[in-house]
Amino acid sequence: MTNPLLHIEDLSVQFGSFTAVENLSLKLELGEILGIVGESGSGKSVTMLALMGLIAYPGKITAKKLEFNGKDLLSISAKERRSLIGKDMSMIFQEPMTSLNPSYTVGFQISEALKVHEGGSRRARYKRCVELLEQVGIPDPTKRLKAFPHQLSGGMCQRIMIAMAIACNPKLLIADEPTTALDVTIQAQIIELLQSLQRDQGMTLIMITHDMGVVAQCADRVNVMYAGQLVEDRAAEKLFSEPNHPYTSALLSALPERSKGKNRLPTIPGIVPGPLDRPVGCLFSPRCFAVQEQCSGNRPPLELDSDGATRCFYPLRAEVIKSTELKSEIEGVDHQHDLEKTEGWA
């Protein structure tokens, strides 16, 4: 395939003077699974909402290129966009319980997506709804179609959301932290469901998550975002074995699985800078364990390397010696920010 399914170049989203997403570029092929990770407030969801055209009025979207399936999303009319979203490109959200309309039955809400995009007779739509519920693993579909969201559990609701999203066989499914609001056993089931659906339908899946474990389990490629910028883009395996950006490395070392034998779970001190306290230099510099003088004065560009891209003046892999030298500094930083530890990424 010559044209990628999704081609984003220099996408920025601004809310007034606050830049929520800055010059983000992304290319995705059909059938790929991309994981987007980063702390809360790093612009992951906003990027995808911008792609879907769901950013409300004060938000401003600019991009050099925003192409999906060969269509330029920047120039098409609102009506044309509406015929794309929910059909070829659909999205599921973080809070399944509140994402479903409490006043309508599950059947109505799934059927509505079908009606708007594909039409067909009421009977055909009903049949398809039953099929979809079976596909997302809901027992007794005919009964469940008549249920209201408040009668279902969170996990059920998310399955319904997934059924709704895949109703028109989308080419791209965006899952925005699909498991954050669910308990752990259900989380695993939902991830497995998404994976198997992706495999069966050959669609592209973008998985936005906090959970590095989820990324490790299913993503082909990972984009790490921080404060609205893409800081590292790499194949999943490579990213986990040899993270190149200090932020990626810090995220990975904060995984409980990776910190066996330590007294404390390593965290990243501080929080993502808000609209008013963005540093002049590298946005991650105030929290970085490997920070150098240059970092606080200039913003590093995103630099391509052999197998991905990193936004750092001192990427870890290129400077193996330096990162070992800096071990002592890590501890120094840790002491200073002892109190803030609980706020870090966990």
């Binding site: 879907m52 769901l54 966009r81 509406r82 015929s83 794309l84 979203i85 929910g86 059909k87 659909s90 999205m91 959200f93 809070e95 509140t98 994402s99 479903l100 309309n101 409490p102 006043s103 309508y104 509505e112 997506a113 708007v116 995009h117 209201f148 408040h150 009668q151 959301m161 709704m164």
Partner: protein
């Protein structure tokens, strides 16, 4: 659903007794003796007075009197008007359709203007349209009904001459009351001139009466809609690729209606209170005007019965609202 209905109805039984107790006590608390009042200025000799007192049960203990009254009420006997000597219930039922007709059009006016205004204001929050509509609604809410009625009459009846000043229908027409609703009666007769006359007579009073509920509904619709439009399921609806119209009207309004229904139900009570003023201003021959006249004539049985019946109407309307609430809110229905 049926169980829900019964539960709601059960709640109204104590309310009904509370109202009978209140109206009963109110009448007893007013100074003066009903027999002397009936006798008027001529006076009455003490012997006859004592006989009448015994006959009317006024010598019985107050609790007995109350129980007797309740017993009569439950049998549909609300007493006889002191002035006209006709049963209170008959008078009420003869005049009630006029008030219902007026209130119905007032609430239609309030809904057909208030709902769209509220929705538009919510969708264009912070714009000129929002400020203008909310300004209009605040003005509407603040205007005294009798003043607003006078202004309407001045402008539309006196200056422009578009509508009749007062009354229910032109005196040229005589309509045999079948249902008591003039619009229906004239329509049944096929008397279109009379129908038109009745409709024109309704315009001003319905506008005057509906203005306050319209203002309340517009403001409540706006705030309810704003809240709903920020919900996650609205984002989901947009993400499905639905048109804005469908997102707002099907997914938004349906949920915004849940708190609104309660407000609209409460407005019916306001409407009946407003009807007393409006009917007096426009000489509208309904319950409101009748109650005012009963006060003026010290017609206690009429007053007592009238207040009780109006309370019953408000209770029934609230029962309907509760049922509608269940219809609009599936979370209530299934519990």
């Amino acid at each position: 659903m049926l169980l829900y209905l019964f539960k709601r109805m059960a709640v109204f039984i104590p309310t009904f007794f509370g109202i009978t107790l209140l109206t009963f006590a109110m009448i007893r608390l007013i100074p003066g003796d009903p027999i002397e009042l009936m006798a008027g200025e001529r006076g009455i000799d003490p012997e006859r007075h004592a006989i009448l007192r015994a006959e009317m049960g006024l010598d019985d203990p107050i609790v007995f009197q109350y129980l007797n009254y309740i017993g009569d009420v439950l049998q549909g006997d609300l007493g006889v008007s002191v002035v006209t000597k006709t049963p209170v219930l008959d008078e009420f039922l003869a005049l009630f359709p006029a008030t219902v007709e007026l209130s119905f059009f007032a609430i239609i006016f309030a809904l057909s203007i208030g709902l769209p205004l509220g929705i538009i204001a919510a969708l264009r929050r912070g714009s000129m349209i929002d400020y203008t509509t909310m300004g209009i609604s605040l003005t509407g809410y603040s205007m005294p009904v009798f003043w607003w009625a006078l202004i309407l009459m001045m402008v539309f009846s006196v200056t422009l001459g578009w509508t009749p000043v007062s009354g229910r229908i032109s005196f040229l027409y005589y309509v045999e009351p079948v249902t008591g609703f003039l619009l229906i009666d004239t329509w049944l007769e096929g008397n279109w001139a009379a129908f038109k006359s009745a409709l024109w007579h309704l315009v001003l009073p319905a506008t005057a009466l509906g203005t306050i509920p319209m203002a309340v509904i517009a403001r409540m619709t706006r705030s309810s809609m704003l809240e709903v439009l920020g919900e996650d399921y609205i984002r989901t609806a947009r993400a499905k690729g639905l048109s804005s119209w469908r997102v707002v009207m099907i997914h938004g309004l349906r949920n915004a209606m849940i708190p609104l229904i309660t407000v609209i139900g409460l407005q019916v009570g306001v409407l009946l209170a407003g009807a007393i003023l409006t009917e007096t201003m426009f000489s509208w021959p309904g319950i409101g005007k009748w109650l005012i006249e009963s006060v003026r004539r010290r017609d206690y049985p009429s007053l007592q019965g009238g207040v009780l019946l109006i309370s019953a109407v408000v209770i029934i309307v609230n029962l309907i609202v509760d049922v509608l609430y269940g219809v609009f809110n599936p979370r209530i229905r299934k519990q």
